[in-house]
Symmetry: C2
Subunit: 115 residues, 2 copies
DNA sequence: TATCGTACTATTGCTGTCGTAGTAAATATA
DNA sequence: TATATTTACTACGACAGCAATAGTACGATA
């Protein structure tokens, strides 16, 4: 609804979707739909993760051992797939944070704040 | 030679290679090898662009109208392909800079500086 | 003589994201 | 009561940027 001129391209955010998801999971186990909403809320609608991106991130991260999944019934009786962070996931998240600092440093050599 | 623990993944820098190249070209027209060296120097060896990435960026950007190429003989008589920024390239660069500010803002919601 | 630096081109493959579509149950709205 | 919306996913194919590998060719340096 708020139409920002600028949209974040997937080529840029690529490689940080996992980090965002893991950040959410650090607080508590969660599931796809909830995580999507939290990302949206945290960024004030500036970034809305695509469903396909989200769920394929889950499979990839479970394969890599960063999360584990388990089924649990919601209040309404519907099944949900929850994801829980592992120690490897925590380590990976930490690495990513460090990498981000470096990336930022590098990229900003090439960015001209308009003057 | 300096071996930093952390390496920048291509998934992160993806989408900013073009921006880096354009930043270099803003000063003056240049060619592949020189641009690569400048990126390396500016980042103090923290980011070394791959040759294939660089040259495929040229073709892409020329197709998009962000740069134009022309051949010119170097001192030694060898031919070089120079690239010159266009107005569209300048506009694109500006957009990318704005996008970067937004990206940074978004990503940093999910980054925990270790405490 | 051989290696290194310069300056590319060509081809193929990988991987994260996206587009599109479909399923299905629960809840809200008319 | 009928319909639309929200919740909560799954499946499949395609795209695009980057990487790996290889090759070309010339000049300078050791």
């Amino acid at each position: 609804m708020t139409n920002n001129m600028i949209e974040i391209s997937s080529d840029v955010i690529r490689g940080y979707n996992d980090t965002m998801i893991l950040y959410i999971l650090m607080e508590a186990p969660s599931y796809g739909y909830e995580i999507a909403k939290k990302i949206r809320a945290l960024t004030e609608d500036k970034y809305i993760i695509k469903e396909t991106t989200l769920y394929s991130a889950f499979t990839r991260m479970e394969k890599n051992g960063y999360v584990v999944s388990y089924s649990q019934n919601a209040d309404n009786g519907k099944k949900r797939t929850y994801y829980k962070m592992t120690d490897a996931g925590k380590a990976y998240y930490k690495e990513k944070c460090a990498e981000w600092q470096l990336t930022k440093e590098v990229v900003e050599h090439f960015i001209r704040g308009d003057e």
